[in-house]
């Protein structure tokens, strides 16, 4: 196992020889792909040409001499032919070099002729799986499979696959995306070629062609340009000068035609379905069925089937053109984060933000109820704006309204096209108050509730200034409350997932508790404070109110002044092992004086199946909590002492010689060199985060190589290393000489025989993660202090360990995005701020 030669493959499988060939079978899209793609280019050119010629006719009038049709056609035919040929060749090359694998293990697509790119997506991160069938592809029974992950990622497009193959893959990917167990070859229900619906799809709302056409003809956006066109035609005809009007009319007609294509042809057969699938292709009993979210299928010529990721919906707009009112019809649009990225909004072949093109009230209620459950929009009390707004909005001041309830804010405006915008509080991005000079004269102001890009635009217009101010301020409070509620829901959900046996991390990363998680305290407890926990606590003469703190693994309760009860959350066999290893480690330190209180386990036992220990209680206060309320001078005294304390930890005797892991599943284990130990520590976390890291940091392999090259240069004799020297594991006492660190606790699987500088570096690095305001500045200052003490060399090693911890905690991506973002920053930092500021 060599560290210097560490290629990115090593992250996953250190045993494999770098550059070993992949044996996995990859496949290409359907061989007809290049033909269809060149055909689509041909059609696009044709349409563009027709538009151009029509516009030309508009400008020049209908004089055939002007057109020079013969020369035009031959020249254009040559250009178009060349373009189609080039598109065909390009299509062939890109088809030839596109390969993909979708199996039980991975989803990977490889493209590129000169610059090969290999995109790998984790199944869990898939947000939507769309099938798009342009007319040309449809004729040959082919379809494009489009996969979207995060909001910032480009989508993966697989063009083109056989329709049944695409449907089967969609089936499989959706099942995997929802965390179900599935296999690619599972039986599936064939989807109809006409509507792309399977027998298991339950249509929630289906828009009939009659209603679609009727709604379209009565819609404001169709009627207004259509009426203008008719009026122009009639007046010019009456005056006998139709030829002059052609110039103005043609663009109008082209616009109308594109409207027809978008709103009618693109929306034809619009169906919102709830996809519900059982374990094996829908044939299993109903109790095993699971919803896979909403799906929209639509289109007459191009058939599009797209999933609606409900959790990514940022807002809803319900509008009603004037003439729809007697019919009780509405149109519903949604903001979906990441979707509006496609510039051609509502294009037939792209994802759309339309949730319902035309629907009656009950259907709107049904669909909106699915995307904003329990929002009770009718229950929102709406406020009107002052009558003086009529001076600015003489045409619709009576329609301006705004209101909110505990879930969402709603604004209303317009009568020609009555529009309601709804934004859930949790999705509020920012709040703006805006006032123009006329508004100032009238004491009015507007409040904008900003949301992600899309059709929804919630603006409370022309409020009384006082009401505007109040609305903005209270909206910020509501948004904050909703965000916190969202976060705790997420934490509870993740805690539940974490509580499942087997859902735990594997290998050396077992028991990795990110420093940030400790600061969270007992808020997202894995084990709910149930009756038996309460009884257990009562048996030891303590209760929930005496909770001192807790991390991912355990909670600590005060028993009396000298003892605490540490209650482990999960009944894990290797937790027993860890606890016993820690106990003997601590026992070996009895009588060792390094000027710090050290942890001591008095008793290990289990009751009601729960593992607990009784430990010595540290005399000081938790440093992390104390830092939050301390003033700057006190903090720096304490942090100086903290740095000294981490430096003294190396004096602790270790039960083993050489470089070794001391605690955890893999311990005790000795390593031949420092490099091997470091590699072993990183192997577990990076095995999980590799795909994600490769995705987020294209040059991760270089960073990995550089880290190993740096570590290989480290000449050091082994000493005990805490491994997680963060403030939440240190205890501070307020002595007469100022706040001093008097204890260090919570040794863990991070504890190793390694480079003693690691704890000094950890003290500097982890301080940044503390939630108090000046944490980053303090960390930089502490780095400076370390440099003063131990010379400039230390800042180099702090920078190296920054990258080490960046990898070490990188598996935080699925439970702590903030920590993961921090990791990415550590990995990309060339000159960490702590050093450059010195």
């Amino acid at each position: 196992m060599s560290q210097t030669a560490g290629r990115s493959q090593d992250v996953e499988q250190p045993e494999v020889v770098p550059g070993a060939p992949e044996v996995k079978k990859t496949e290409r899209p359907h061989p007809l792909t290049p033909f269809i793609r060149s055909w689509i280019v041909f059609v696009a050119i044709l349409i563009a040409l027709v538009r151009e010629v029509l516009n030309d006719v508009g400008r020049q009038g209908l004089d055939p001499a002007h057109l020079g049709l013969a020369t035009l056609t031959s020249g254009v035919a040559a250009i178009a032919g060349a373009a189609v040929l080039i598109a065909g060749i390009a299509g062939f090359v890109s088809w030839y070099f596109t390969r993909f694998v979708i199996d039980e293990e991975e989803l990977r697509v490889e493209t590129g002729v000169i610059f090969k790119t290999s995109k790998k997506m984790s199944f869990e991160r898939l947000q939507s799986v769309d099938i798009i069938q342009p007319l040309a592809a449809r004729i040959f029974g082919l379809a494009e499979l489009r996969l979207e992950a995060g909001a910032t990622d480009a989508s993966i497009k697989l063009r083109y696959l056989r329709r049944d193959r695409a449907a089967r893959l969609r089936e499989y990917l959706l099942a995997r995306a929802h965390g179900q167990v599935a296999r690619v070859d599972d039986a599936y229900l064939p989807a109809s070629a006409l509507t792309d619906l399977t027998a298991a799809d339950r249509p929630l709302v289906r828009v009939t062609p009659q209603r679609l056409v009727g709604g379209f003809l009565l819609s404001t956006e169709w009627l207004v340009p259509a009426c203008i066109a008719v009026v122009i035609l009639i007046t010019t005809a009456a005056l006998g000068v139709v030829a002059f009007a052609v110039g103005g009319l043609l663009p109008l007609l082209v616009g109308l035609a594109s409207l027809v294509s978008r709103r009618l042809i693109g929306m034809f057969n619009f169906t919102v379905t709830e996809s519900i699938r059982g374990g094996a292709g829908g044939s299993s009993p109903p109790e095993s069925t699971q919803s896979r979210g909403l799906r929209i299928t639509r289109g007459l010529t191009n058939l599009v089937s797209q999933s609606v990721p409900v959790s990514r919906i940022q807002g809803v707009r319900i509008c009603q053109p004037l003439l729809w009112r007697p019919l009780g019809w509405y149109r519903v649009d949604v903001d979906i984060v990441g979707y509006s990225r496609t510039s051609s909004e509502n294009n037939e072949s792209h994802a759309t933000s339309v949730l319902l093109p035309v629907a009656d009230e009950s259907e709107v209620e049904l669909a909106v109820g699915r995307v904003l459950p329990e929002f009770d929009l009718d229950g929102i009390e709406l406020h009107r704006v002052p009558a003086r707004a009529r001076w600015l909005r003489w045409y619709d001041f009576w329609t301006l309204r705004y209101g909110w309830n505990e879930h969402a804010i709603m604004t209303e405006h317009g009568w020609l096209n009555h529009t309601r915008d709804v934004v859930p509080h949790a999705k509020t991005q920012s709040v703006r108050i805006v006032q123009g000079p006329l508004q100032r004269a009238l004491r009015l102001a507007g409040v904008h509730i900003d949301t992600a890009k899309g059709p929804v635009n919630a603006v409370a217009r022309h409020l009384d200034t006082r009401a505007a101010r109040e609305l903005a301020m209270t909206q910020l409070d509501r948004a904050r409350a909703a965000r916190i509620a969202d976060r705790s829901r997420l934490a509870a959900f993740q805690a539940n997932v974490g509580g499942l046996p087997g859902a735990d991390t594997a290998g050396g990363s077992e028991g990795v508790v990110p420093p940030g998680a400790d600061a969270a305290g007992g808020s997202g407890g894995v084990v709910p404070p149930g009756a038996d926990t309460a009884r257990l606590l009562a048996d030891f003469g303590t209760d929930r109110d005496r909770l001192l703190g807790g991390g991912g693994e355990s909670e600590v309760f005060a028993i009396d002044d000298v003892r605490v009860l540490r209650l482990y959350r999960r009944p894990h066999s290797d937790t027993d092992q860890t606890v016993n290893q820690l106990r003997s480690l601590y026992d070996g330190w009895a009588g060792v004086d390094i000027g710090l209180e050290l942890p001591r386990i008095l008793e290990v036992d289990r009751r009601d199946g729960r593992l607990f220990t009784i430990d010595w209680r540290f005399s000081g206060l938790g440093l992390s909590n104390w830092l939050r309320n301390a003033d700057a001078a006190e903090r720096r005294t304490a942090l100086t002492s903290f740095l000294d304390a981490t430096e003294r930890l190396r004096k602790l005797p270790s039960p083993m010689a050489g470089f070794a892991r001391l605690v955890g599943q893999e311990a005790p284990r000795q390593f031949g060199s420092f490099g091997e130990l470091m590699h072993n520590m990183l192997a577990g976390p990076t095995r999980e985060s590799r795909v994600r890291l490769e995705h987020d940091l294209p040059n991760v392999a270089q960073i990995w190589d550089r880290l190993h090259a740096d570590l290989a240069e480290r000449q050091v004799s082994p000493a005990l290393v805490h491994g997680d020297a963060c403030p939440s594991n240190a205890y501070v006492s307020l002595l007469p000489g100022g706040p001093t660190i008097t204890g260090v606790g919570d040794f863990s699987p991070h504890t190793v025989n390694g480079d003693p500088v690691m704890d000094v570096a950890g003290a500097v690095i982890f301080l940044e993660l503390e939630p108090y305001v000046d944490a980053a500045a303090d960390s930089a200052w502490l780095c400076g202090l370390a440099t003063e003490r131990w010379g400039a060399d230390i800042s180099h090693w702090i920078a190296v360990y920054r990258r080490f911890y960046g990898f070490y905690f990188s598996n935080a991506y699925d439970f702590d995005p903030g920590l993961y973002a921090w990791c990415l920053r550590q990995l990309t930092s060339e000159n960490p701020p702590g050093i450059s500021r010195r």
């Binding site: 991005q429 703006r432 006032q435 904050r480 965000r483 305001v773 980053a776 995005p817």
Partner: protein, 163 residues
């Protein structure tokens, strides 16, 4: 500044006075430049120098209006870091107050063009998922801009929430 745009329970942090000098310079340089090109072109090509005179007149008016407003525009900028959000206000004729929760910030950028650098200034802009947020603070001393960026990033991470 009236109650509508007052900061909640805090005082506005003001931007650097050097921002005024920067604005004065750009006002003195760019409108004359912008109008002179067509003015000279028209004059040389057609000989109708009175059109050029009108253009220069317009340039002068634009310059004077802007020069008069610079001081007020500078004074209108302000920002406040609160516990959970950042407030920014600006605008003389069209006033605005934007409040961005730290948890919503996706990106904090510090920019400093060559002119800004010459005046010792930098611009901090915050990006959220919404393109309309438009939260930008110009005319900050580089040290303050860096401090603000570091603080906002730290707070943004501490309070980050999914979309």
């Amino acid at each position: 500044m009236d109650e509508l745009f007052a900061p909640p329970a805090y005082e506005w942090q003001r931007i650097s006075p050097a921002y005024r000098s920067l604005r004065r310079l750009t006002t003195l340089v760019f409108p004359p430049l912008l109008f002179s090109v067509p003015a000279v072109a028209v004059g040389v090509l057609t000989g109708l120098w009175w059109i050029s005179a009108v253009l220069w007149g317009i340039a002068a008016v634009v310059m004077i209006i802007r020069l008069v407003l610079i001081n007020r525009s500078w004074r209108s900028w302000g920002y406040v870091e609160r516990e959970d959000d950042l407030y920014i206000t600006h605008g003389v004729l069209f006033r605005s107050l934007v409040a961005v929760p730290y948890g919503r910030m996706q990106l904090v950028e510090v920019e400093s063009g060559p002119l800004e650098r010459a005046f010792g200034l930098a611009t901090v802009s915050l990006k959220t998922a919404s393109p309309e947020t438009g939260a930008t603070i110009p005319g900050l001393p580089p040290a303050e801009a860096a401090r603000l960026r570091d603080r906002l990033t730290a707070l943004g991470e501490a309070q980050a929430s999914g979309l």
